[in-house]
């Protein structure tokens, strides 16, 4: 049987296409990455130099390079500013990456780790720790918050996946917001009837880097490192899942594996960040949206760039919080919402960025 064919001649010989735009995009991604790296360094420097007691960059450099120095400045830098900056770097990177993964997996631009019950679980555990055990220090909260975050996510996932249909983005979001509402109600029940607990909890719930020492940074570091590694491993799979589960499967991706790795990474990152600093809303939501403007939808670029951008944003917000209300300071979680909110609205109003 003959197939009528109107075979078209190949347009060019294989291997020779010139793609100027493609290299332009790559250049934009590389430039963005380099710019973010520079900004991370600048933000770190600012975070070490600026504070209730401003220090010159020269003083900072001397104190950092000469560890034998025990001046008052050196003590401030090594005991307060450096741990705080390190923690800010870690937490910012974690939340940025967790947000990117969350949005990629749910294909929902509202994807925020908070939706999975991380924040609500942590809040509930911290309130119990305060009210029942009398814990009142940030380092005392860490393990409770972390355990609560893990339990919250697992519960959301189990509820969202119950039934044969399995976990879809919609059931997960509904289960997450419902369980969160329930947990917050219990939190409120405690706080309304116990003023002492409210007095401790109100300072945890705003989300702050202040008062967190190096011990907290070391406690959460292993979880953050593990989460970041898993996230990087998960990035190529997310690119495939972006084309739908059928296509991803057709290209040989084990979908359940990718989903599991992603969920574990999100939980570790968001859980550790919340455990260290309290709930920091918004960072995980805003950062991937901003980064996507120059990386495009490719997660191999989006995930690492979100880590850097998250760190920059968190450190910047922290520095701003130290400056605007001298001699006191405004907690980083609040500054972030006040800075990030308008930025996010502006981003949303530019039409193209409202979709993934």
């Amino acid at each position: 049987m003959s197939v009528p064919s109107v075979t078209r001649a190949p347009a060019a010989t294989p291997g020779t296409p010139v793609r100027p735009q493609r290299t332009a995009r790559t250049r934009r991604r590389v430039l963005g990455l380099v710019a973010l790296l520079v900004l991370v360094v600048v933000a770190c420097a600012a975070s070490v130099a600026i504070g209730t007691r401003p220090l010159g960059l020269g003083t900072v450099w001397t104190a950092l390079t000469d560890r034998s120095l025990r001046t008052e400045e050196a003590v401030i830098i090594w005991d307060l500013r450096v741990p705080r900056t390190a923690l800010g770097l870690m937490v910012g990177a974690s939340l940025g990456v967790a947000g990117a993964l969350m949005q990629g997996h749910t294909r929902n631009p509202l994807g925020d780790p908070g939706l999975l019950g991380v924040t609500a679980g942590a809040s509930f555990a911290v309130v119990l720790a305060i009210a029942l055990l009398g814990v009142t220090t940030p380092s005392g909260y860490v393990w409770f918050a972390f355990a609560g975050a893990l339990a919250g996510t697992v519960a959301v996932y189990v509820l969202g996946a119950a039934g044969r249909g399995g976990a879809t983005p919609v059931t997960l979001a509904l289960a997450g917001s419902t369980l969160s509402a329930l947990l917050y109600a219990l939190v409120r029940a405690v706080l309304v009837s116990d003023t002492d607990s409210l007095d401790a909890f109100r300072f945890w719930v705003v989300g702050a880097l202040a008062g967190r020492g190096a011990d907290i940074a070391w406690q959460v570091l292993p979880f953050i490192v593990a989460g970041l590694v898993l996230a990087l491993l998960n990035a190529p799979a997310l690119d495939l899942l972006g084309m739908g589960e059928d296509v991803a499967r057709g290209l040989g991706q084990r979908v359940w594996l990718a989903r599991t790795v992603g969920l574990v990474a999100i939980t570790l990152l968001a859980g550790a960040a919340t455990a260290a600093c309290g709930p920091i809303a918004f960072l995980g939501l805003v950062v991937p949206h901003a980064v996507r403007t120059f990386t495009g939808p490719a997660h191999r670029w989006l995930v690492p760039c979100s880590a850097l951008a998250g760190a920059v944003l968190l450190l910047t917000a922290d520095v701003v919080g130290r400056v605007i209300a001298r001699p006191g300071e405004v907690q980083v979680g609040i500054v972030l919402a006040l800075l990030g909110g308008p930025f996010f609205i502006a981003l949303v109003r530019r039409r193209k960025t409202t979709t993934l």
């Binding site: 049987m1 003959s2 197939v3 009528p4 064919s5 109107v6 075979t7 078209r8 190949p10 347009a11 060019a12 010989t13 294989p14 291997g15 020779t16 296409p17 793609r19 100027p20 735009q21 493609r22 995009r25 044969r164 190529p236 690119d239 495939l240 972006g242 084309m243 739908g244 059928d246 296509v247 499967r249 057709g250 290209l251 040989g252 991706q253 084990r254 996507r292 495009g296 939808p297 490719a298 193209k352 979709t355 993934l356």
Partner: protein, 280 residues
Amino acid sequence: MTTSTPAAPPLTAPTSDGRVRLAAEGLRLAYDDRVVVDGLDLTLTDGSFTAIVGPNGCGKSTLLRALGRLMRPAAGQVLLDGRAIQKTPTRDVARVLGLLPQTPIAPAGLTVADLVTRGRHPHQSWLRQWSAEDEAVVAEALTWTDMTDLADRPVDELSGGQRQRAWISMALAQGTDLILLDEPTTYLDLSHQIDVLELVARLHAERGRTVVVVLHDLNLAARYAHRLVAMRDGVLVASGTPHEVLTEQLLADVFDLEARVVPDPVAGTPMVVPVRRLHR
């Protein structure tokens, strides 16, 4: 209705050496409790070009999903080169079998080149992320589908016909012997339908791919495919060359359609001229 499937020996395309590549044995497919396909046997030989036809809701897309291991059978199995497809590592399957869902989605902003590049995923690993071979295959796939000029355009800004070419280009870059396509001509005008099917026919004729395609349009199916498989209510009703399958009796049985079948004045394949719908 002629429901005697296993009796009819599967026909092979002229170019084939007759080796069975993909086979369904006693396949039962169900969504929860709703059985869509039951007791279906089918063999697809190397180098064949098969079109699955049937009325809406007859289970042809479901069958294609199962053949592409997107769906786990409730009973029976699908064999790829003699191995149970559900037990074969999915990445191994992806090096042999490519598939294109009915309306694939691309994230906003993804360029054609990015899309085609992702077709190389089954051949990549953490050590070997982007080999010279990958580069060459992608460039060749773009050239062969005539998409090179559009390589940097976002997929979501293309016309329907161009988009389908991009996806076929991705399937080509995947470099599989077997390609399954679910209604690749949906939402396309006639000239773009022809365009896409020409491309698929060239995949078969020039690149030696074994092709299975679900198609709505019987005349186009008869023109391009070497073998037609007709389904109704989840059962394989007839299988054979277009001349054998597209008879007036079968159209009445399968599609409830009274029709004349005349030779296609261009290709000589059977052509269906509908008369009216039969009510039963």
